[in-house]
């Protein structure tokens, strides 16, 4: 038994310690927002937050995150109230097929927590998620727009 803290809720799961967090989320807890794509931590479709940091959950054994605060895409818009990143995404009409977007959005929300006003170089270094539809052209302006929106809320 492993006890996980997922989206603020304690959940007990009876799985092998080396089962990746992604598959515990998807197949055991039925949280399907994080997506499987490469399975080796290269593409970022499975990105979730662990203690506020963006983590590629397909390569994280569940035993390594026991007791840590895990947050998934399902948690960031409580009661349908969009996170500023999601709002910027909607305004810029970023998604195409949408499959990589939960991972991309989780990577960006973690980045903005760490660096509220990231430079282009910081964005390039942090956001290495693969999007096969290639929505990238809209991602960068959307990140800057989200950063501006978050700053104006705080001001």
């Amino acid at each position: 038994m492993v006890t996980l803290n997922i989206n603020g809720k304690a959940q007990q799961v009876d799985v092998e310690p080396d089962m990746p967090l992604l598959w515990v989320l998807r197949d055991v807890l039925n949280l399907k927002g994080a997506k499987f794509s490469c399975g080796i931590g290269l593409c970022g479709a499975c990105t979730v937050h662990v203690d506020g940091e963006a983590v590629r959950s397909c390569t994280v054994p569940v035993s390594a995150v026991a007791g840590k605060a895990i947050a998934t895409i399902e948690s960031i818009a409580p009661a349908g109230r969009l996170d500023p990143v999601q709002q910027a995404w909607l305004d810029a009409e970023v998604p195409q097929c949408g499959y990589c977007q939960p991972g991309m959005i989780m990577a960006v929300t973690a980045l903005l927590k760490r660096k509220p006003e990231p430079t282009d170089a910081e964005i390039d270094a942090a956001i290495t998620n693969i999007c096969r539809c290639s929505t990238y052209a809209r991602v960068r302006p959307a990140i800057h727009a989200a950063a501006r929106a978050m700053k104006s809320v705080k001001a």
Partner: protein, 724 residues
């Protein structure tokens, strides 16, 4: 109520009683506005349902894979329906019902950039028909002539008597009327939605919330999970399987042996996939187990060297023109196999129950999935139900072949009564695709003393997709599709000859975004640059002269628009260079200019990509721009990195480390030029791909003097400066 409505309701009642489609739709929440669950409401026409509260539901027959046609197609109906756009939502038309109702929704195929252009007329007609029926019902109720009624935003008014009603109130009555045979469609100048407003796509909000149910997300009560391992060599078979170690692992329920693959069925996918590694499989790898990329290249080479090839185009006499030429230019170009690499690997869920077969599929063609499932499952088509799920990318992988649906059905047929979700690992997906054909092309041009290109002779040697996927559609050994951009080249030259050598190695080939237009414009447009250089002409000037005829007027117009937007001919910063290309396909015309610089270490800095498309009309301009942006990166990725190589009969690449993708940091500034000239309907999902590789390679030639005649550029020592 129409007969059709009655029979449809009857069907739903029957299937609900049988524990079928209707119940299942309720068993898991299908998020998103387009769902295959049938909505309640008056069915005015097959395409338009209207509820009492004025909610309008427009049925969508094509698949949504991010291209935005779910929204664009609804706009076409709504344009004529004159409803309140803010009250419109969509649902996917049911595959089974389409078959039962004599294909009332027409083709469900979603490929070839055809969704808008092939269905625009009947969708606009469907909207106009429903509007006339709604107005007719109101007029009948009031006892006034329909011609005196006006309609706007779903409200019908009769000014002389001061009466008004809404679509929701008259929909049930309208559904009982006979549809008018002839309806007048608006002239383009009267449109208020098409090409006007930039309409936010229906699917966006759910997608940023992580809500859409992709095929990989299907969850059914008691469902099991399957992982698949196909014979690594295409065409090989299973000789024997030692299942014992796998069966002993936690969660493993069954090992299913298929003729050419083995699947593990377990209680979750990770366990199933892990257990694949515990199987001891002996493969009969067959006759192709020694084939490698060099052997395939040698095979293609026999094609361009063959004496008497089928002729795809013959204008004038190329041999006579070469004999009189002041100069001749000759070159051979090559492009490799390419995997689609959809972000969602191939997946499909199948469930045999109660003499029926239900399938949840990420399909680009729901009817093709139903047919494949019926055949593979040995179930009559009438007892197959396909649920079209959101697609995590398509790009041509999920339409014609349906191999993934067949595997899911075959696996589930061994676990009858239990739904089974099959999912491929990325490695399985990379090594079992239907690849963009590898192509070898030999071109020869004649230039006269005035620097005019007088002859163009092309020999294309490559696999035929049609021969692989639909051989019955091919007569003889000439595949015209494989000659696209050559047999129909817009260039006005008196002497042209195009020949095709069909060379089908054992590697499966399929429709990869823009298909043969993903490589043929690269060959043609880079070679045209070579000829321009030999003739001492500017690349744009040279093309202008060749695009003189009526056939070429739209190619010329988009080329001029893009050249103007790029400032072709104006000075660039030191070290920066441009390349240009033009192409047409899928009913549209596209051109591109790429500005870049290349340093001494062959590191490319992409400064700007200017790309333009004339699709005649544009329905939703922001969605069209998104397609252009996506095509630019998809095409740049292929040109820089894209290659599947073959060794020991199998694909070498396995994941994104050796099948690289461009990333955010590599994305250049993209300037889109939407230049719809009206009068025709062209595609948008693929045409923007066509000028990218040649514009890039022509710019590299301008920068370095090197003509790169095979892709990817990585094989020539080039890298992107942003990803060194």
């Amino acid at each position: 109520m129409t007969d059709a409505t009655i029979s449809r309701r009857h069907f739903l009642k029957v299937s609900a009683a049988a524990g079928g489609a209707f119940c299942l739709e309720l068993a898991f929440p299908v998020a998103g506005r387009a769902q295959s669950a049938a909505s309640a409401g008056a069915e005015v026409t097959a395409w338009v349902l209207i509820q009492a509260d004025d909610q309008v539901i427009i049925r969508i027959a094509r698949s949504e894979m991010g291209q935005g046609s779910q929204t664009g197609l609804a706009m076409l109906v709504a344009e004529e329906l004159e409803c309140d756009w803010s009250r419109v939502r969509t649902e996917f038309a049911s595959v089974a019902e389409n078959l039962r109702r004599d294909r009332v929704w027409g083709s469900m195929s979603t490929g070839g950039s055809q969704s808008i252009r092939q269905s625009q007329e009947y969708l606009r007609r469907a909207g106009a028909t429903a509007r006339e029926m709604l107005v007719g019902a109101a007029a009948r109720g009031w006892g006034v002539p329909a011609g005196e009624c006006r309609v706007a935003k779903g409200t019908i008014t009769h000014a002389p008597t001061g009466r008004a009603t809404t679509y929701g109130k008259v929909a049930a009555a309208a559904a009982g009327l006979t549809p008018p045979k002839d309806v007048r469609l608006k002239e383009p100048g009267e449109w208020s939605l098409i090409g006007k407003a930039s309409v936010q796509r229906f699917d966006l909000r759910d997608k940023i919330l992580g809500l859409p149910v992709y095929a990989i997300d299907v969850e059914l009560p008691g469902m099991l999970h399957a992982a698949l391992m196909q014979c690594p060599v295409f065409g090989g078979k299973v000789k024997s399987v030692d299942k014992s170690a796998a069966l002993a692992l936690r969660g493993v329920k069954q090992v299913v042996e298929l003729p050419d693959a083995v699947a593990v069925v377990a209680d979750n996918w990770w366990r199933a996939n892990k257990a694949l590694g515990a199987l001891r499989i002996e493969w009969d790898t067959g006759a192709d187990a020694k084939v490698d990329s060099a052997a395939i290249m040698a095979f293609l080479r026999t094609g361009v060297a063959q004496a008497d090839l089928p002729v795809a185009r013959k204008d004038g006499d190329v041999d006579a023109a070469f004999a009189q030429a002041a100069k001749t230019v000759e070159a051979e170009y090559f492009t490799p196999f390419l995997n689609h690499a959809t972000m969602e690997p191939q997946t499909c869920t199948a469930w045999f129950h109660d003499d029926r077969l239900e399938v949840w599929a990420p399909t680009q063609n729901g009817e093709a999935t139903a047919a494949a499932a019926a055949e593979s499952g040995g179930v009559p088509l009438a007892r197959v139900e396909v649920h079209k799920m959101q697609l995590g990318g398509g790009f041509g992988r999920r339409g014609a072949t349906q191999d993934w649906a067949r595997y899911a059905v075959r696996i589930a047929s061994h676990v009858r009564g239990t739904p089974v979700k099959m999912l491929w690992s990325r490695e399985e997906d990379m090594q079992h695709g239907f690849y963009r054909p590898a192509s070898l092309v030999k071109m020869k041009a004649a230039v006269d003393a005035a620097g005019r290109m007088t002859a163009f002779h092309t020999r294309i040697s490559c696999p035929s997709i049609i021969a692989r996927i639909a051989p019955e559609r091919l007569s003889g050994s000439l595949d015209l599709q494989a000659c696209g951009s050559f047999h129909d080249a817009p260039y006005a030259m008196p002497n042209q000859r195009v020949e095709y050598a069909m060379r089908n190695p054992h590697v499966p080939v399929g429709f990869w975004r823009s298909v043969y237009h993903s490589q043929n414009p690269y060959f043609r447009e880079c070679f045209i640059d070579e000829v321009a250089q030999a003739a001492g002409k500017d690349p744009l000037e040279f093309r202008r002269a060749l695009l003189a005829g009526q056939r070429a007027r739209r190619d010329l117009a988009i080329l001029e628009s893009v050249a103007k937007a790029a400032g072709w001919g104006s000075p660039l910063p030191a070290g920066a260079f441009r390349g240009i290309a033009v192409a047409d396909g899928y009913g549209s015309y596209a051109a591109g200019v790429i500005e870049l610089s290349v340093n001494a270490k062959s590191e490319i800095s992409l400064h700007r990509v200017i790309v333009g498309v004339d699709s005649g009309y544009v329905v939703n301009s922001d969605a069209a721009k998104a397609q252009i942006e996506g095509c630019v990166i998809y095409a740049l990725t292929a040109a820089m990195y894209g290659e599947n190589t073959i060794k020991d009969g199998r694909v070498v690449e396995s994941n994104f480390h050796d099948y690289r993708m461009l990333l955010l940091r590599d994305t250049p500034k993209i300037v889109t030029v939407l230049a719809p000239t009206g009068g025709f309907w062209g595609g948008m999902g693929e045409p923007p791909m066509t000028p990218i590789a040649p514009a890039l390679v022509n710019a590299i030639a301008a920068a370095t003097g090197k003509r790169i005649r095979s892709l990817p550029l990585r094989n020539h020592g080039f890298a992107l400066a942003t990803s060194v």
